[in-house]
Amino acid sequence: MPEYETFQHDVLIIGSGGAGLRAAIEASAAGVSVGMVCKCLLGKAHTVMAEGGIAAALANVDDRDNWKVHFADTMRGGQYVNNWRMAELHAKEAPARVRELEAWGAVFDRTRDGRILQRNFGGHKYPRLAHVGDRTGLEMIRTLQDHGIHQGIDVYMETCIVTLLKDGDRVVGALGYDRERGHFKIFQAKAVVLATGGIGKAYKITSNSWDCTGDGHSLAYHAGATLIDMEYVQFHPTGMVWPPSVAGMLVTEGVRGEGGILTNADGKRFMFDFIPDNYKTQTADNEEEGWRYTQGDKNARRPPELLTRDHVARCIVREIKEGRGTPHGGVYLDISWIRKRLSNAEEHIKRKLPSMHHQFKALGDIDITKEPMEVGPTTHYIMGGVRVDADTQMSGVPGLFAAGECAAGINGANRLGGNSLSDLLVFGKRAGEFAAKFAKENSYGKIDNDQVDRYTREALKPFENSHGENPYSVQRDLQEVMQHNVGIVRDESEMQSALDHSKTFWERAAQVGVTGNRDFNPGWHTALDLRNLLTVAEAITHAALERKESRGAQFRDDYPEKDERFAKVNTVIRKAEDGSMEVRLEPLPEMPDYLKQVIEENR
């Protein structure tokens, strides 16, 4: 009979990135006891890697900006399948959340008159991203961390959750283990907030950390919550492609925001070749105008490099496929060309993009102030996730909340850069607030010891099987299959084949073995993460098969056009009674007239 330590908190937060920290701060401020579980050390979560900025209509740089324009931009970028209420709340509340960070000590770059500076980014009509050079995520997570540690939050570092625990329909806690000793812990809670981030590790080429294994998506799904929009995986257009060991590492969109251009092997600036209809009126039709836009000319329209990520990524894939790629299979991203325009270009690039300068110099022997970078798409973000109520962030399972990347709705079919950090703040706060409220209105539920024992025994199984397959091999093979069969360009037969593979992956995952003991054993941790990775991989594939059209981040070779039949539906995934994955289409909620009008006004 295994032993457990039990901890009790009114609100348990799973995840310690931007959303988790913001939720913890809010819940704690509401006067309830808060526990926060982090898979890594505090302050190391994937938010730390965000580069470009936080989107918020502060209107510090262009006074024409306001929540309505931000809302319209977000909906257009998401192909109007976003949850309109989340997009509305997000656009309205983001400015206050950014100002709050400043009150907690964040030091953003400044405008000449001393206010928070904002930069251009893809799909945003006006300069909107509050930033700190190209290390905005670090600034954000450190600010929240340094504020949060004085709020009386109990932090459980390097702790992983194996399963959520339920009492009837309601979530009443979670079972986890500490990585250092491998001891199992029961976290009893009146409300649980999932803030576990993304799923990038389901793919081979990704900008994500090792720990982005879709834990929250999977925990919620197995606890009976609904996942929506799982087909929408964002492939960021610009990841490093060379050397191989850094393939997939992010190159911030800020490079293009500061005037960087994309060219192919023939030296042609190819992004002017195809501009989607719904962006034609907003996009420059010549290089001169595009340059003026990046330099703050309010009468200029944005260069096509700053179209949405789904579109830019597809254009890059097209150039490579049609034989106009670079020697290492990418395209060129060039910021050094601005030397022709600016006398202090070198200094300017180093000040605006210090991490990029350092990253290329240290890892690729490239000086970006003098030569172009080679870039190609990399798995970056998932728009899909746990379906939540827009205002409260509660899932369909009472007591279970979700915020940030693991929740869905705000981004629709494609996320605009910068909307992720603001999403974490706006909905992290809301999740914390409403989880605290739920906790005050409900008492602790009953922990089912049989359920706990069952999951613990299952989690320990790999130790009984020390000659079983290496868990890293299963993970690697899954990543290969997802990369090739459910990647940026999809079709029915390849995805069907991925589903066939999936069956064998589940069988292999059940047979993996680990050596050594439970003391900080990454092989064991990897074995336990497989269940989450396999669950999200299957959900992505099912949803992508169901949506027989191309929209936003989903591109189907066999259905290359948008199809009206899919314009107003979400793909919805839940676990059926028999344990199988059930997929169906459900209509989107109808947008109210006042928001339709906002969209019309901003066509």
Binding site: L41, K44, R135, L138, S209, P244, V246, L363, G364, F520
Partner: protein, 258 residues
């Protein structure tokens, strides 16, 4: 394929040894690639931390050929591969397992440092005004990724184990970022002298040398803090002047608000 030998420390607090692993080497590889590959193929239970593999999270700190480094930013092409590459845990912290150390002391230290306390907002809409040139220095300090390599190399901690009396370079920089923050109104000078033990630092600049973010820890952070301590506690004229200046700063702000 070219290969290289890695001598990696395996063991825990009760003892251990270096074990040799041979692995393939390809263009552009960093130490973390090699260690990840060894873990995935030869030693599934090899313990160490890493997250971003991009020099941004500060998790994969270790000592490579005796030098405190981020494994993810140390390229194999910069190491003499004809000899085995040694990889061992940071020495200034208690060993948990293999390359993994118990860095929790750092988190406890930070909690003891007085938090940011801003002056009242400058504008009626609740916002502040700061000039870029007034925050350049603070932004330099805020680049810190908390890899704790500076703590590891600092002889006050590493060789003398004075963790109870000295907060180390990382947290002196944290204090400097707060003290030099244009909006902050808290005073931490008394603590610097006593609880934080700034006097133990004798400016050997080892911390600056190992900082992967190239923060001028000693010159831009610790020395100015030492000057503040000296001014406040040993220079009566400076003390009076600064008290008056603080008051006039406050008045300026009041006026601005009006």
């Amino acid at each position: 394929m070219k290969t290289a030998v890695f001598k990696i420390w395996r063991g825990n607090a009760t003892g251990g040894e270096f074990r040799e692993y041979t692995t393939g080497v390809s263009e552009g590889m960093v130490v973390l690639d090699a260690v990840n590959h060894i873990q995935a193929t030869q030693a599934n239970d090899l313990a160490y931390r890493w997250n971003c593999k991009a020099g941004k999270c500060g998790s994969c700190s270790a000592e490579v050929n005796g030098m405190p480094k981020l494994m993810c930013m140390t390229r194999l092409s910069d190491l003499p591969l004809e000899k085995p590459v040694t990889v061992q845990p940071m020495k200034a912290f208690p060993l948990i397992k293999d390359l993994l150390t118990d860095v929790s002391w750092n988190f406890r230290v930070k909690k003891k440092i007085k938090k940011f306390k801003p002056r009242p907002p400058d504008a009626p809409d609740g916002t502040w005004r700061m000039q870029q040139e007034d925050i350049d220095r603070v932004q330099e300090f805020r680049k810190c990724i908390e890899c704790f390599l500076c703590q590891d190399v600092c002889h006050v901690l590493r060789d003398h184990g004075m963790h109870e009396k000295f907060i180390g370079p990382r947290f002196l920089i944290h204090v400097a970022a707060l003290e030099m923050h244009p909006l902050d109104t808290e005073n931490r000078v008394e603590e610097l002298r006593n609880a934080y033990g700034i006097g133990y630092c004798n400016i050997t600049k080892c911390c600056t040398k190992v900082c992967p973010e190239s923060i001028h820890i000693t010159d831009n952070g610790i020395i100015p803090l030492k000057e503040r301590v000296v001014d406040d506690f040993y220079d009566p004229l400076g003390w009076i002047w600064r008290r008056l200046k603080k008051k006039s700063d406050r008045q300026n702000v009041e006026e601005l608000k009006r």
